[in-house]
């Protein structure tokens, strides 16, 4: 497998540095929220990881459409990479949300619409990874994966709009004047937007690495077939 391209090496360093800057902004630039106290500082990473997680699931659905049209297995590798990384980001978002909820709502978890749809979303894609492993034939596995991620993609907008169409205690942050309603100051909004941008770059970096891993895995599989034949 070819060595890491220079751009990817730059992205590695840039991602690490930007996460550090986002962390420092959350700690020192954003002011202390007077109702919730220090825990509100995890909110910036919570929103950013949830946002890129959802975008990744949408990207996987788009890739699924491309695969179904082209039947080219390289798109299956890309779709799998998008799902795996989105699962990690979305897991972080759920756990950070739960940690934020404990002092804010007095409970780690409640089955309200946003949390419920988010948990379902995470489990839908976790099941995708498990079910894929049960299919030996690469073509069948890729077709199944594409149809599954396409259908699974429907749960993403449902999760996103759940707090807008149902009565819920989860705050609306993005759109609809949510940040003003939450009493966010300019520096809080700036920190949130910066974190979203940073995690988008981290996502691209990890996505690239995961695609390379998938391509390498395919190469080793082909070599294995060649040796055993």
């Amino acid at each position: 497998m070819s060595p890491q391209p220079r751009v990817l090496k730059v992205l590695n360093v840039l991602s690490a540095l930007l996460v550090l800057v986002a962390f420092l902004m959350a700690m020192f630039y954003a002011p202390l929220e007077k109702v919730m106290g220090e825990v509100q500082r995890v909110f910036y990473f919570h929103v950013a990881t949830a946002w890129v997680g959802m975008l990744g699931f949408i990207a996987a659905a788009v890739v699924a459409v491309i695969f179904l049209r082209t039947q080219d297995l390289k798109w299956d590798v890309i779709g799998l990479a998008a799902v795996e990384i989105s699962l990690v980001f979305f897991l972080v978002a759920i756990v950070l949300g739960s940690i934020w909820a404990r002092p804010a709502w007095g409970t780690w978890w409640t089955w309200e619409p946003r949390l419920t749809t988010a948990a379902i979303l995470e489990m839908v894609y976790l099941a995708y990874l498990l079910l894929r492993q049960g299919i030996e034939d690469p073509d069948r596995r890729a077709r199944f994966g594409a149809v599954y991620t396409l259908l699974g993609g429907l749960s993403v907008p449902l999760t996103f709009i759940s707090i807008r169409i149902f009565r819920t205690i989860h705050p609306v942050v993005i759109g609809g004047g949510g940040s003003e309603k939450m009493g966010m100051t300019g520096s809080m909004v700036a920190t949130m937007l910066f974190s979203i941008a940073v995690f988008s770059i981290v996502f691209v970096t990890l996505f690239w690495h995961r695609i390379r891993l998938g391509q390498f895995s395919d190469k080793v599989e082909q070599l294995k077939l060649k040796v055993t034949q």
């Binding site: 497998m1 962390f23 202390l32 007077k34 109702v35 919730m36 106290g37 220090e38 825990v39 509100q40 500082r41 995890v42 990473f45 919570h46 990881t49 990690v88 897991l91 972080v92 756990v95 950070l96 940690i99 934020w100 404990r102 002092p103 990890l206 690495h209 995961r210 891993l213 390498f216 895995s217 190469k219 080793v220 070599l223 294995k224 060649k226 040796v227």
Partner: protein
């Protein structure tokens, strides 16, 4: 109004974030290294079979 002391929750949140990201990045590195080893073994056995 007193500001509640939620410092430990904040620390917990960032620790969870760091641990999950480190575990995932380690898993990527570990899978890559395993594939590299497998590739080396397969290439060696391919060379041996041609001898």
């Amino acid at each position: 109004m007193d500001i509640p002391n939620t410092f430990n929750y904040m620390v917990g949140g960032y620790v969870v974030f760091a641990v999950v990201m480190l575990v995932y990045i380690s898993s990527l590195v570990s899978r890559w290294n395993n594939l590299k080893l497998e590739q080396q073994m397969l290439e060696e056995s391919e060379i041996n079979s041609h001898k």
